[in-house]
Symmetry: D2
């Protein structure tokens, strides 16, 4: 038996891609593709949706999640900028209904595994740097993924017993900035060039060797494996979970 999935925000780029991915997945069945103006509540009831994928606008995330749960379906919220403060109440609602729910800031399985492997490798290496490569239209540096990766690494470094020896390298920057941005002792370098999308390499250095983990998305398709996986796993949950990494 397949899982019955509805998509809300089906006219946006991510919504449209999700509709395609769900349709071509053997164990998932698309039961509706809704957008602004449609009654989500009615669609869930009429189509007996098990799961609803939501790609709408940030401010609607919590409300849509609440509405989906109350209608008896499991929300998979891909909408960016979800306010974390809304989670406890949604979690309570989920548990009352004995339903699972997922809020997913990043659906790329490659990016998630890169971050997990980095946190794990940090247990065995005492030095790491992150190099991320984005298109030249991206103004901010470092990227959110790079910052999150550096945070995970620095937490792993900090929790080691005995502590990793604080790197007491002497740094002489002939030109300032050469050694990158620093987050809790982890250096992050941001390359911005046309021709890139959103690559990242995390490099661990030890005596006489390096270990590196690289994620390279090519297009929006890279999120679709994560969308389908989220639809499957949310049916096995009870309560609201933030981040696909908790299920991988």
């Amino acid at each position: 038996v397949s899982i019955r999935v509805g998509v809300n925000g089906a006219k946006g780029k991510m919504g449209r891609a999700s509709v395609g991915a769900i349709k071509s997945s053997e164990d998932l069945q698309l039961v509706f593709a809704a957008d602004v103006g449609d009654s989500l509540e009615k669609l869930i009831a009429d189509e007996k949706a098990d799961v609803v994928v939501d790609f709408t606008k940030a401010s609607d995330g919590p409300e849509n999640a609440s509405l989906i749960i109350k209608a008896g379906a499991r929300p998979v919220i891909g909408t960016s900028g979800f306010q974390k403060s809304a989670i406890p109440e949604l979690d309570k609602l989920c548990r009352e209904k004995k339903l699972g729910g997922l809020i997913v800031p990043n659906f790329s399985i490659g990016a998630i595994k890169m971050m997990q492997f980095s946190a794990e490798a940090a247990k065995y290496f005492d030095s790491a740097e992150v190099v991320e490569y984005h298109h030249d239209g991206k103004e901010e540096s470092p990227s959110g993924t790079a910052l999150r990766t550096a945070e995970l690494i620095s937490e792993a470094f900090a929790s080691k017993t005995p502590k990793a020896k604080a790197s007491e390298r002497k740094e002489i920057e002939i030109i300032p900035g050469g050694r990158g941005a620093q987050l809790n002792g982890v250096r992050v370098h941001s390359v911005r060039l046309p021709g890139y999308l959103a690559d990242q390499e995390v490099i661990f250095g030890g005596a006489g060797e390096t270990l590196s983990i690289s994620s390279r998305p090519r297009d929006r398709d890279c999120f679709m494996g994560g969308v389908c996986l989220a639809c499957r796993r949310v049916t096995e949950l009870e309560g609201m979970v933030y981040g696909l990494e908790n299920l991988l």
Copy 2:
């Protein structure tokens, strides 16, 4: 209190490097550096060694392990080509003496984590290829590490539910060999060029993205982190363990 470590085969390259690494490690204390002609038994007793690191010749591995255990120390056998058939008896001996023992084909932490991450990533991606880069003096291809990696990946592929769809790609090799060696469906490519030591990249491909894990040893030092780690962890074991990966 530090762990008292003796080295057997201390005149060989790996033995000599181990002596240096143990000396410069704060929680390890070098209590002897033996080689052919020395009485290992007497040295262990006299110096109250907790652990003995053995880098001698393949045929001596099992006998040395046995001798070390009987003398009351924990063997860390780095000698290559250890016959696995000798393990059950050594394990029994260890348990009688309530001691741990380790046989370690590869001490590089980078290489071990690369293999572990590959086995893990294979749960989430349905396609993978291995590219390994060795110096032109290496005659065999693929390398042992590449074969072991491909084996781990194919096992992970095989144990998925539902099964990863068998890749039914049509292959047209205009020149034979282009698509590499195949081990249970995982392709392995072997580059042989001066200037390399023993690099390996494992690439996972999914819809719209790739995830890759690379290990690059630079010199013999890369094994020393593993040697020291083995000396520490073997004191917490009971029984004989094959492969450092089981402790990481």
Copy 3:
């Protein structure tokens, strides 16, 4: 003064992209966008086209080139599968009219420079291997670009004085195919995984070092720099030239 450019085959993918690229280029002016059914001759005359970019079907290439030259414009033929046998006559026609013409199998400047650098590096290194990475929908291996690169490298090897020592490595393929395809002594490895488009790395190995050159196209846009460059350079030529590499 800008160069007046017409596009033939403007409804195809490459034609449409060319129209966009020419429009957004300051020194080029799009004067027509034609397709099947339009009179190319009349459009060239009416719009006083200096250059006509042609992306139609292979069999039409030579005829379109001839027609464009006779109408007094310079052809830039991007149509794939152009029969080289047609070139001498087109060249004669160009010279009579004192016009230039270009036939371009690959417009990617990155790919062309990668091939040129490879031919140049081969003068200084005696060993090279090619690793190419394509999407899993590509059936043939090695790719055309990889074969052409290997050919250029082997030609450079062959023309050295004194000859590069023939690599007399002993090869033991534990699993057949591991060492890749061989073209005149240059090994080529073909990776096929979802998530790639058409990457290629060319690696030169020497005593104690490697030098590598990598080309990574991301999308069709990578051809547009070459299309605009061809439009500019063809106006400075007299006679028919095959391959953009001759102008770079």
Copy 4:
């Protein structure tokens, strides 16, 4: 007939390696290996040296070069920190004697070709960044090679007609330093991790594609190809040349 080569400073690391490289080269003949205390003049005369390779201390470079030329041999000066101000006089001396001479700050052919290819690629791409990877014992950043590469690229950018559009990207550095050091508009990123020696990657970005050139030395051997090449080429020169790149 082979070229008769003497080595001065033969007890240092580079001198010793050079002795080995010259001995194993078919067209070069080692005629002496001198060090402090030996009479270089007498050795050149007695052994009829055609070329003398000098790896001594910086302050001795110009004097040794002068002495070698006066004794009738061609100097190949590998001594680091050679004062450029001494070159004009040495050049004059060379021309009087109708001899060639070479001062070589970097003998790695891989590094030299990387810089040459970068200068060439900069003619066809409008954006480039340099990422260099050194061991954590290197205090300064960026490396000398990275600075020289960025200089060559910015010179190529500046000499284009029409000028490459000045990149007017808006930069928002959430953490300062993320975007690296800037040399005339070319960004340079310096990674410092144990496990690296002195790698460098130069990346060019264009519409929809990247082209990258990487140099990876593994050990001192990488300089020996350049030493032998310098010994050959210096015999064809007249006057003093600075930098092996002028002969490649």
